[in-house]
């Protein structure tokens, strides 16, 4: 086996390795859930794909494509020399004996790379059955707990600050779990019809997930002196969607298209806060049909 033939096989092997690592990337992306995604493994797979393709191309350039430079006089006067050049040109083409095999391998590697780049499409959806998105861990009677799992007592919820609460015994990282808890002046509350008893003593809870892009609504704007300062508001730090906590978290400003879903609350006999039902609407970022399909 001559040297050029060996190089050809090496190129094909390199393209094959590129295909394998690209398929590895897609496999890793599809196999692990987003929360346990091994990012370094993804990076290694994708990096190897690029590296293999690059080495294959480099090898073609170095071994299979002639890169000899000749500076000749205009060869019209020397037909023999012209003939020599033509022969050399033909001989150069002969270095590549299996053009189709190389082309095939290169195409396969390119397609695998493209498929790997498109792998995140797997994260889209669900496309047809969206009921899973409506599920939240909140039920009537669920106690509100803090991040350590301690039940929150109504007496401990004071004004001029904010709390993050979760449903007892549920996965805190679920999108429907966290709520922002406020103690507002009951006299200033203007809730929609049917929500009058959802904020006992002015303690009110809204989903902590912004209805625009799903960030955590982590800002509570609290004036020190209400007559001259901006009023209370819940603000999302990502794009500054601003919600009015007094009127059912209606949108005051920003890109959010609908209010934060409200969680009805009640106080049980031992003074703990409990949910009095589920949210008033879908939790999390907006998508098509979201307004037409309440829970």
């Amino acid at each position: 086996m001559n040297e050029s033939r060996r190089s050809e096989y090496a190129v094909v092997v390199l393209f094959g390795c590129a295909v394998l690592s690209a398929v590895g990337f897609i496999f890793v992306y599809a196999w692990f859930s987003p929360r346990h995604m091994p990012n370094s493994l993804l990076g290694i797979c994708f990096g190897l794909t690029l590296l293999f393709i690059a080495s294959a191309i480099a090898l073609i350039g170095l071994r299979l494509v002639p890169n000899e430079e000749r500076e000749d006089e205009y060869p019209q006067e020397h037909p023999e020399q012209q003939q020599a050049v033509v022969e050399q040109l033909h001989a150069a083409g002969e270095l590549i004996t299996r053009k189709r095999m190389l082309l095939g391998a290169g195409t396969a590697a390119g397609c695998a790379l493209g498929a790997a780049a498109l792998a995140p499409v797997l994260s889209l959806g669900p496309f047809w059955n969206t009921t899973a998105l409506d599920k939240t861990p909140w039920r009537r009677g669920k106690r509100l707990v803090d991040q350590n799992g301690t039940p929150i007592r109504a007496d401990d919820v004071i004004e001029e600050t904010f709390y993050t609460a979760f449903p007892e015994g549920a996965d805190m990282e679920e999108i429907g779990a966290p709520v922002v808890l406020l103690h507002l002046d009951p006299a200033k509350l203007h809730l929609q019809y049917g929500r009058k008893r959802w904020a006992p003593r002015g303690i009110i809870a809204y989903s902590k997930i912004c209805t625009h892009a799903g960030c955590a609504v982590a800002l509570f704007r609290k004036p020190t002196f209400t007559p001259v300062q901006p009023a209370e508001a819940l603000v999302c730090p990502c794009h500054y969607s601003t919600f009015d906590p007094y009127t059912g978290a209606t949108v005051l400003f920003g890109p959010a298209g609908r209010p934060l879903p409200q969680l009805p609350l009640m106080i049980d006999r031992s003074g703990n806060l409990r949910a009095a039902g589920n949210f008033t609407g879908r939790v999390g970022p907006a998508w098509w049909n979201v307004l037409e399909k309440p829970i």
Binding site: T161, A218, L219, F225, V228, V235, P237
Partner: protein, 273 residues
Amino acid sequence: MRVRALALGRTRPLLCALALAVLAGPLAATASAQPPSGIVRPDTEPRHASVELGSELFAGNCSSCHGIAGVGIKNARPGAGGVMGQGPSLKNVGAQAPDFYLRTGLMPLDNPHAEPRNNRVLLSDKEIRSLVMYVASLGRGPGIPNPRPQAGNISEGMQLFTQSCAGCHQEDARGGYVTGARVPPLQGYSAREIAEAVRIGPYLMPKFPPSQISDAQLNSIVKYVLSQDHPYNKGGWGIGNIGPIPEGLVIWLIAIPVLLITCLILGRRLRRE
């Protein structure tokens, strides 16, 4: 009718002044950042801090907005220097709030509608202590906290800061914005001022009582915030530590052109050989 005419007459010069201030731009901004009338002081100040001195300073500099003896003014009314005074009661704020607001230069404010900023502190230490004593004597309230950052744990502090503070102040305490106001960066504050701010919740910030953030946790938070005065930049140049946008700008506008120019120079040299 006459009343309205009078009121209009009074607002027009004010509007003109405002327009002038806008036109004058940055110059006017630096000038108006100070209280228009400066600090009013008694003719002879006693040598030591005292409630009496505090009371006199309060009457001259604070009572236009906070009312006589700190009872607060609910509906705006004209006070000293033509300022329409309006402000919260200071009855039970204790020593903590005046110590914080005066030492950070947030107070006195030249106009109750203005956003408090860290202006140059025009009061001497003695005057501040006098005012703090006076305001604390108006009612019962929390004393000045005494945080011990050396007893805190910096990684716990970072975790707590991320949970409760970073939403507005950013992970690296560089500040930011909330709708309608600026969120200050936290560099250059003392441990005491940081602890006071957490407990008071100045301006639009929520307050965090000990039931929410314990004194031990506060020590950790203070330690973390102080550590962000001079953060350790692993990558070299911190670019102000204000996040990915300036970092991206540096990459696109500086790093990539430098690389391209290097490539061009290398290529030219090779061709010459």
